[in-house]
Amino acid sequence: MIEFRDAIRDALAEEIERDPAVVFFGEDVAAPGGVFAVTKGLHERFGDERVFDTPISELALASAAYGAAVTGLRPVIEIMFGDFMALPMDSLVNQASKFWYISNEQGTVPLVVRGAVGGGGRFGAIHSQMHGTWFQGIPGLKIVAPSSPAEAKGLLKASIRDDNPVLFLEHKRLYSVKGPDPEEEVIPLGRARVARAGRDLTIVAISKGVPDALAAADELAGDVDVEVIDLRTLRPLDVATVLESVAKTNRLLAVEEGPRTGGWAAGVLGAVAQEGLHDLDDAWILATDETPIPYSPTLEDAFMPSTDAIVGAVRSRLSAAAA
């Protein structure tokens, strides 16, 4: 068994060890070991040249990573909270994600931006967001959101070896989760996985939504046989795996931690409708309210698409359909 944060750290350590071009930097990541204690020991082991602390300058961080990547390094940076991704956006959107195409494929941009995301930690509206959808409309940028320790390790190693810019979203509420050790060295980016097989309903999710959906599936077992699809990446989006599942279950629920408007779940439903409408009896989205994320525990708990919320949504939808 391995903890999610240790899986991330091991992936970083193994890739820094494996490839001299890999460097890792960010705010409080080296000497302090990261605010979520994810990167402890890396600086001691690899030294200043490979692992270093930076000023609180997210734009400089991201653009330094970009400029280093196009000249031959493979930087991994940490943007402490995903919410801070609004600051380095120009470098990621207008520089890193465009370079391969507009340079006419003269060079690649192998960089990874790690960031802690998600609600449920009482961090309030501006330390709890999922920034994946802010970037989902940008060609050239990969977006990865792992759901378990083994997934985190294999996907992060793949992200570091990838020749494209990758946003890597680590859910804060997963850091202390323990899970089975990885079976695979790397997990290819862009392929969803069937996290649980079922016949009656497909639930698609990413990140912490996957264990929440798996727990909901356990509760629903006996009444509804749920298949859970872990998308793993929002871009590229593996629609084929979802279509294959829906062909079997004929029902689709997308669970998104974030507002429905502009979210990834609507994109999944759209793609499934376009390609597989004939397979669909029902399709809907469980998302958050269209407000910022609240602070107070009672409000935040009610806001999140939790296991209870998923179970409730499935029961009421299926009973309404049966009525």
Partner: protein, 342 residues
């Protein structure tokens, strides 16, 4: 103007005569100065040709011309090795040509042709030419500063340096302040070259720049800086050589404020009526091409040598434009773009 530090009171300083009088009595200039003059002329011809082709509808969208500013990139690149890195701006044709980009490939890119340096995918504002160390030209003000700062991380391992070219407008961007600090604390071999042409688009620099002194901003970051007459090729080269030396040997970054002036407006549709006529005339009298030519002659170059360089620059540009115009447009039917690198 009160409170701002300028090499010449926006052009009121050294006249052509004064500049000539100030020329040191050195030996005859070596070949590289003649070549540098040729490169400056090529940039001027290139910009004039792009203006002409724009008016004919061959250059699309918009374009930002650097005529008048040639001495800055050419002087800086004289101090670089070919494999050093440089990031330019959307007024970047001169940056690319100074760094070594083939003028025909650059011209073809302006025209959106398949034989462009980026296959027609980039256009005037976004040139990349990695083969010549040009890590990109950036359409967002200040973007070049970030790119060069990152390139300096790699350069530090390689014994190379990285140069950011940017305008006075960029010195109020987060990129400038964050990256200046980042480069100092991480001891990066970076040279930050501000081409201060005194106007951020249509607005005078002095109106929107606190302290009105760009070079002085370096001191707050513990960075070396110099205020340079950006129309004087020799002054730019000297300052750049010192900065490159510090960067390469000691990993100490430098801010160079090179004061210069653009002959055209900000972009294709801008007649630049916001600039006082008298100011424009003062700067035109200090055209870097005129200053360079006169200095070469004063330093002992022969009229024949200078004219040979001038003929070659003209011929190179004519051939480049011809080759660019002869190139095909990319064919959407055969375009094989991929979203991601494999």
């Amino acid at each position: 103007m009160e409170g701002s530090r300028v090499t010449s009171d926006i052009g009121a300083g050294p006249s052509v005569e004064a500049a000539r009088a100030a020329m040191p009595a050195e030996g005859p200039p070596d070949r590289r100065w003649l070549d540098a003059y040729g490169r400056m002329l090529l940039i001027r011809h290139f910009e004039n040709e792009m203006q002409r082709l724009f008016l004919k509808g061959e250059v699309h969208g918009t374009t930002h011309l650097a005529a008048g500013q040639e001495a800055v990139p050419v002087g800086v690149c004289l101090a670089l090795e070919p494999d050093d890195y440089l990031a330019g701006t959307y007024r970047g044709h001169g940056h690319a040509l100074a760094k070594g980009t083939d003028p025909a490939a650059l011209a073809a890119e302006m025209l959106g042709r398949a034989n462009g340096v980026c296959g027609g995918r980039a256009g005037s504002m976004n040139i990349v030419d990695l083969e010549h160390g040009l890590v990109g030209c950036y359409g967002i003000v200040g973007g070049s500063i970030g790119a060069a700062t990152g390139a300096a991380l790699t350069a530090k391992r390689q014994g190379r340096v990285a140069v950011a070219m940017f305008g006075d407008g960029a010195t109020n961007q987060a990129y400038f302040h964050e990256c200046m600090n980042f480069a100092v604390v991480h001891e990066l071999p970076a040279i930050f070259v501000c081409e201060n042409n005194f106007y951020g688009e249509f607005t005078p620099m002095q109106k929107v720049t606190g302290g009105r002194d760009i070079a002085a901003r370096a001191a707050a970051y513990g960075m070396d800086s110099a205020l340079v007459d950006g129309n004087d090729l020799w002054a730019v080269e000297e300052a750049a050589r010192a900065a490159v030396g510090r960067a390469r040997a000691e990993h100490r970054p430098t801010l160079l404020e090179c004061q210069t002036y653009r002959h055209y407006g900000h972009s294709k549709s801008d007649p630049a009526t916001y600039r006082p006529k008298e100011e424009v005339e003062r700067w035109l009298a200090r055209d870097p091409l005129t200053l360079t030519r006169e200095r070469l002659l004063a330093l002992g170059a022969s009229e024949d040598d200078v004219e040979a360089v001038e003929r070659e620059a003209r011929t190179t540009m004519d051939r480049a434009a011809e080759a660019a115009l002869a190139g095909p447009y990319p064919d959407p039917a055969t375009e094989r773009a991929t979203e991601f690198a494999p």
